[in-house]
């Protein structure tokens, strides 16, 4: 058994075992984090949904175009807010998200506000214009920080640094399904088919449409951001859980075949030895 083949298999088994331990541990960590992330998603979803619906209902029946937030413009520069992960090893989570972001950014000039370390790395590599590196750690983002980001972006928007804000994130559909998604945050645009339906219908704004939009929009953006963040974090953990689970399974399968190979090699060498002994004694 001192031959090379048995030893080689043994070393491989060792390294696979090590990998399996890591993937198993990561899977366990992810699955314990999922519970909390899922709860957070479920709690933030109504806010996210109602905020979005309300603002769009307002935009649909809007007749007051005084505020720059509702003015349609021929978008030249797009600002992308990309919500990615801090760490890799989460299956296709980051890759799918970046594909989506690239799809959108390919159409026009863009700036980007990356959230998440992987995301920052990706856009740095692409030499994209980055608005801020301050928010590189997605896990640290609180509601307060979302408000901060939102205020900064609103300021830049009003200064005409860009003409459109698109948020790219990952939807947590279920434990097994996460889909990258994008929503246009600003300018607030009516869904054209709904808007045409009822133009006579008007809303009373107190004190004025402009003042209301100016006060609401930063909150709206912060709300969307926070909601998207909750979704993305849960999706990341779910993706990692699935990826690590299948990695552990693969490792186990490999180990099984390697054990078989190892035993065969061992058996082979024993047989050979016996044959040699018998052959020797026969003389």
């Amino acid at each position: 058994m001192a031959d090379g083949k048995g030893l080689e298999i043994k070393t491989r088994m060792h390294s696979i075992e090590g990998t399996r331990k890591i993937t198993k541990a990561m899977g366990l960590v992810a699955s314990s984090k999922i519970a909390r992330a899922k709860e957070r998603v479920e709690r933030s979803r109504p806010y996210f949904q109602i905020m979005y619906d309300t603002l769009h209902a307002i935009a649909d029946s809007n007749t007051d175009f005084g505020s720059p937030y509702v003015k349609e413009n021929t978008a030249e520069t797009v600002c992308l807010i990309v919500l990615g992960g801090d760490r890799g090893l989460a299956g296709g989570y980051n890759g799918n998200l970046f594909k989506k972001a690239e799809e959108i950014s390919a159409k026009s000039d863009y700036m980007v506000l990356p959230i998440g370390k992987k995301c920052l790395d990706f856009f740095e590599r692409k030499n994209a214009e980055i608005i801020s590196r301050e928010y590189a750690v997605a896990a640290d983002l609180t509601v307060g920080r979302c408000f901060e980001i939102s205020r900064t972006l609103c300021d830049l928007f009003l200064r005409n640094e860009f003409h459109k804000i698109v948020l790219v994130y990952t939807n947590f559909v279920s434990m097994l399904e996460q889909t990258p998604a994008d929503i246009q945050v600003l300018p607030l645009m009516a869904n054209s088919d709904v808007a045409k339906k009822e133009t006579s219908h008007s809303i009373l704004y107190e004190p004025s449409g402009e003042a209301v939009f100016d006060a609401i929009v930063p909150e709206y953006m912060a709300g969307l951001l926070y909601g998207a963040l909750c979704e993305s974090l849960a999706a990341e953990q779910a993706a990692r859980h699935t990826a690590m689970d299948s990695a552990s399974k693969n490792a186990e399968e490999m180990l099984d075949t390697l054990v078989l190979q190892y035993n065969r090699a061992r058996q082979g060498s024993i047989t050979q030895e016996i044959t040699e002994i018998i052959a020797g004694s026969g003389e």
Binding site: P46, I50, I203, L204, E206, V212, G227
Partner: protein
């Protein structure tokens, strides 16, 4: 009593979803009371007390930031924070108030003072709501 459907949400979840008879909130323009069959209406919320009357009870809350919208008879209060008077953490609010006061009276920079001013106001409103109701 005529009621209307009301939803109150914050980032921490759906606080209220049901029928209400009357709700009054502090907006950026002052207090506004909303009854059933209100005209379609949108305004931004300020910081202050919210009073909610349902058929069974009257409840008070500290409500800050966000918007209130009446669309097709449905009322939605989308607030940044919304805490019922009996759920306010008095100790935390007291601490926040004292801390904010210290910063305002110290010689820190203007931006920090402004943030503290807002914190101070929020703490005072929370304390006011929890003590009064």
């Amino acid at each position: 009593m005529v009621t209307f459907p009301l939803q109150i949400v914050t980032p921490d979840g759906l606080i209220y979803d049901g029928d209400a008879a009357k709700i009054s909130v502090r907006t950026i323009e002052g207090d506004v009371g909303i009854l059933a069959r209100h005209i379609d209406f949108v305004t931004a919320l300020g910081m202050g007390v919210c009073r909610l009357d349902t058929e069974e009870s009257t409840r008070y809350a500290a409500c800050m930031g966000g918007l209130v919208a009446v669309i097709d008879g449905k009322v939605r209060v989308v607030a940044t924070t919304f805490e019922w008077s009996d759920e306010i953490d008095i100790e935390r609010a007291e601490k926040a108030k004292i801390l904010a006061e210290e910063i305002i009276n110290s010689d820190s920079d203007q931006a920090e003072k402004q943030i503290s001013q807002a914190r101070y106001r929020r703490a005072v409103i929370r304390l006011g709501v929890s003590q009064r109701f």
